[in-house]
Each structure stands twice: as C-alpha cells, then as structure tokens.
C-alpha cells in the first residue's frame, strides 16, 4: 500500500546551510494495516507525513502509494493522487470555518474522482454521529464534534491510506479515546490503511503495530541539534 525508500528532506537553516529533517531509508505499510509512529515534537514526523501526502516535495527518495510513485509526479498529478488515495486528519482539524459541516465534507470529496456526492457525504457524517449538525458551522460545534467532521472529511473519498497527525492532540482523554476508536473503526470498515503519528503513550498503546520515528528517521539527531 505505502512504500517509502531513501526519502530525505532538508530545510535551509538560519546560516543558510541545509538542515536535514527527514531521512528514512525504508518504510512500508500494507493495505488495511494500522500503524502508530511514536515521535516527539520537532522530530520531523509531520514533515514525513507531508512528504507522503505530496504536500511537500522530497529532496530525494521515493514514496509509492498503491503502486504509484508519488515523488516522481509533477505537482498537479500529486494533488490528484492525494485527492484520490489519501485522507488526512490534522491535529488542529483544519476545518474551513466559513463552510458548513456538510460543505466541509463535500469540498474534501470534490477534488477526488467521485466528485461531491451529497448523499455519501451525509451518510459519512451520519456514521460519525453528526447527521443532525449538517448545516452548522465549525465554530458552532464542540472540539470533539469538530474532530469528527475532520474524520468524516478524511474518509468521505474512500481513501486507500489515512494519515493522522496527532489527531487527538487537542482533545481531553475521554474524547481522545472516542475519536481514536472512531478513526480506527471507520478505517477498518472502509479497508483503508492508517498511519498515525503521536507522542501520546495512551494513544500509541492502543495499536498493536507501533514504531519509533526516531529510530526510523536517520536525520532525527540532526533535527535535535
């Protein structure tokens, strides 16, 4: 499903020299698999997810999603692939504040291959327990409800891979547990692979498959310096 090979990314430092942030020799995730990456703040794990999602262009290496080489593609093709194959759940949810709950999900779908399917968007929102909040704006929802909108938006396009970046970081313990269970359950239902990054041991402990990002990322030492 996901194959990462010799992936590296660096950014210019204050003195102009390139600072390596991500350097991953090999990383794989099978279809439908759910894996948690443990990583401290500033360890480069968000950059790693951005590289997988094609939001950032890698300096070198390869990311293959469902057999398609993401890193070899031009930006428009990467955008298309992201819309077709990936769902992304952000720590800060990144909901569009001027759009209703239903519109947030529809917009997420509209860039994908199936387009904005209103009935499906409603069904997904029903599934995450927000069928009665379709016309609400994000600011009118609780934090937990906003997270559920983000989950619905990420999964509405029936992605093959869901990337979740500290998805429970803004929630209290009870809501975090509920949100995590929901994400895993819906991914399982749709057969989507899940790659979640977190520093929360409570979250990481729920996953049978766990890896330490510091061990995976050969540039981790560089980042900390």
């Amino acid at each position: 499903m996901l194959a990462v090979r010799q992936l590296s990314k660096s950014f210019p430092g204050p003195d102009g020299a390139r600072v390596p942030v991500v350097s991953v020799a090999e990383f794989d995730l099978a279809a439908g698999e759910q894996l948690a990456l443990r990583g401290e703040s500033g360890s480069g794990k968000t950059t790693f997810l951005h590289l997988i999602a094609g939001i950032l262009a890698a300096d070198a290496g390869e990311v293959r999603i469902d057999g398609v080489g993401m890193t070899a593609l031009g930006e428009p093709a990467r955008d298309r692939l992201r819309a077709e194959k990936l769902g992304y759940i952000f720590q800060t949810f990144n909901l569009l504040q001027g759009f209703t709950v239903l519109e947030n999900v529809l917009l997420g779908m509209s860039f994908g291959p199936r387009g904005a399917d209103r009935a499906h968007a409603r069904a997904v929102l029903e599934r995450v327990g927000l069928g009665h909040r379709l016309g609400h704006f994000p600011r009118q929802l609780s934090t937990g409800q906003q997270q559920r909108v983000a989950v619905a938006r990420a999964l509405a396009n029936r992605p093959r891979l869901v990337l979740a970046d500290e998805p429970t970081g803004n929630l209290d313990t009870r809501h975090a547990g509920e949100a995590l269970a929901l994400i895993r359950e819906v991914c399982r239902e749709q057969g989507a692979a899940l790659l979640l990054v977190s520093h929360d041991e409570g979250v990481l402990g729920q996953f049978a498959l766990r890896r330490d990002f510091a061990e995976l990322n050969q540039a981790a030492g560089e980042v900390r310096r």
Partner: protein
Amino acid sequence: MTLPLIVYRSLRQHALSTLITAGGIALAAGLLMTVWRVKVESQAAFTQTSAGFDAVLGARGAKLQLVLNAIFHLEASPGNVAAADAEAIRRHPMVKTAIPIAVGDNLRGFRLVGTVPDLFTGVEYAPGRKYAIEAGGRLFAADQREAVAGSFAAQRLGLRVGSVFRPFHGLNFDPKAEHAEEFTVTGILAPTNTPADRVIWLPLRGIQTMAGHDPKAATDVSAVLLQLRTPTAGFMLDMLYNKQGNRLTFAFPVGAIIAELFGKISWFDRVLELVAYLVALVAAGSVLASIYNSMSARQRDLAILRALGARRRTVFGAVLAEATVIGAVGALAGLAAHFALYAGVAGLIRAQTGVVLTPWAFHAVLVLCPLAMTALCALGGIVPAVKAYRTPVAETIAPVS
C-alpha cells in the same frame, strides 16, 4: 459546485468589504455610463432639435445665440428684426414658410413667446408630427389676449384652460415687473418633447403691444423661423444676409450651429470622461486592495483546500472568480445607479431646455461598460490570485512536529 461554493462562501465571509467594494464599482460604472450617454445622447437630441425649421433670421449677432433663443428658448434675443425685413423674407421665393416670433416677457420664469397661429396649424415640429391642443382647449385668437401653454410649463405653473395670468417683463422673473394686461389660457399643447413644451405662447400682437414695451418697436419681431424650399436656398440666403448684408444674421443649418456649441465644450466632455475613467480605475484598484488585504486571513483556507487535493489553478481561479463576481455585481448595480442618475440628469435637462432624453433607451455603453468594469475587476484580481497560487501549503496548515 466547488468553485461557485468557494466563491460564494468567501464573499459571505467578507460580506462587508464585498458590499463596500461592489458599491464603489456600482458608483463608478453608473457615473461612467451616465457621463457617456449624457454626452452622446444630449448632443444627438440637441442637434436634431430644429422645431421643424431649416433656418432662423434675426438681428445681427452670433448665429448660436440666435438659434438658442429662437429654437431652444434659451439666452437673450440678439435684437429685433424690423417688420419690413420680416415681411421681405416671408415673401422671398426660396422661403416656404416664415413664422415670426417675439420674446421679452415671462411668467414666473417660463418664457412668453408671441407668434402667429400658423406655427400650430401649418408646421411639423418633427417629421409627421404637428402641434396639437389637448381636448377641451383651442388655439388662441390672433387678436385677443389669449394664450396656449406648453405642456411642461402648464404642469409646473398649474395652468389650465380658463386660467388668467399677467405676464412679467423681461426674460428673468422679477415680481415687481408685472404687466397690467391679463391673458386667458385657451388651450394646453399636447406634449411634444421639444423646447416648445416650456413656453407659453401668445399672439404676436399680444407681446408687441404690451404696455411698457417700446411703441417704436411695436411691429418688430425677435426672429423669423424659416422653412426653405430647397437646401441650396440656405446657402444663397446665407450669402445674401451674412456676407453681402450687415444688418441681419441668417442662421443655417440649425443642427450644424448647435453642433458647433458641442464642439466648443468638447474639452469639458473630455475632462468628465477622464474623471469617469479614473473613478473606474480606482474602483478596480479597490477590488485588488480589498481581496489582497484579506488574503492573509484566507490563506489558511486556501492551504487547507490545497491539502485536500485542490490544485494551484483551482485556488487561483477561485480568487479570480471572486474578483470577477464582485466586479459583475458592482457593474449590475451600476446599471441601476446609472438609470437613477440618468433619469435625474434627463429631468434637469428637460426642465432647463425642454430637450428630452429617454433614460430607458438602449445604448451600447450599457452593455460594454458593465463588461469592461467586470473585466477590469478580474484584472485587479490577478495579483491576489497569484498570491493564492503561491500559498505554501505545509507551512500554512500545520505546526511542524
């Protein structure tokens, strides 16, 4: 659905700045269209207004003053034409019709013009159109103190058949200059949409013999309105009166003389046009500034859209479409502003000159100006659209962990 939804929501999110910007564009477009139409259509209306006459014979002076006085009932008369001269031109073989007029009095600011009944019975003021008296009225008798009121003057002064009034001396209203004679309104002219609507018509003798007027000039007229038998007659009479003679002025052709007036004030048109163009540019600039200033607030939304799979060209198109929609809404509102402005200006021109401009008539500028304003606003949207295009997704959407 995506692009319209993004544009609609963005406009709603920034409703106040959208309304203010669209309002500015509406005023600019309205002003531009009004200036253009008033210029073009008033020039056409004035140059086509001849009251059915080819030429005017008057005292020695400027042709323009003579035409403005005799046809448009504006300006002062350049002087008098002796009865013998009026009679001579009437009998001239090249003249088909000669209608003498006498001016010099008013009724509360509206001009009294003395003339002969032939003006109303024998002259077409426009092709196929003759003067008509509204039902219940009749034409004045040439030897009575009677009057026929133009429709606009009657409406403004509240005159109706049977109304009695006393004229005031001079062309400008002075309450102390009231004449002793009383005139009775015998009819109201049906609207002609010409300067005749602003006039109260009296028998020629009524003006000539009014107490206080110079008895030596009791048979003089202010001008003679002429219909010629052939166009070449105009050139021959021009030679006779203007080049060989030195007592009278022969103004021919009427339309060309008025066109000269517009030629003289064309610099003013250009200034107005320039102002209107600058206002349009400022309006387009305001679209640019309004959207550009809101870009920092909306960059996060654009980055989220990009992270969801929107392409750069989609967010570029969304911002450009937003600018275009603001321009189009403003331009459409500008049409409404234009019609309101134009109706006001047309009313003013009609009140001052009797020349009628029709606000609802179609003019190409009513299509071209809104299109041009919309295009200009779209152009103004390019700069913020480029900024949207360049939005760095990763840095904008999430803190790096």
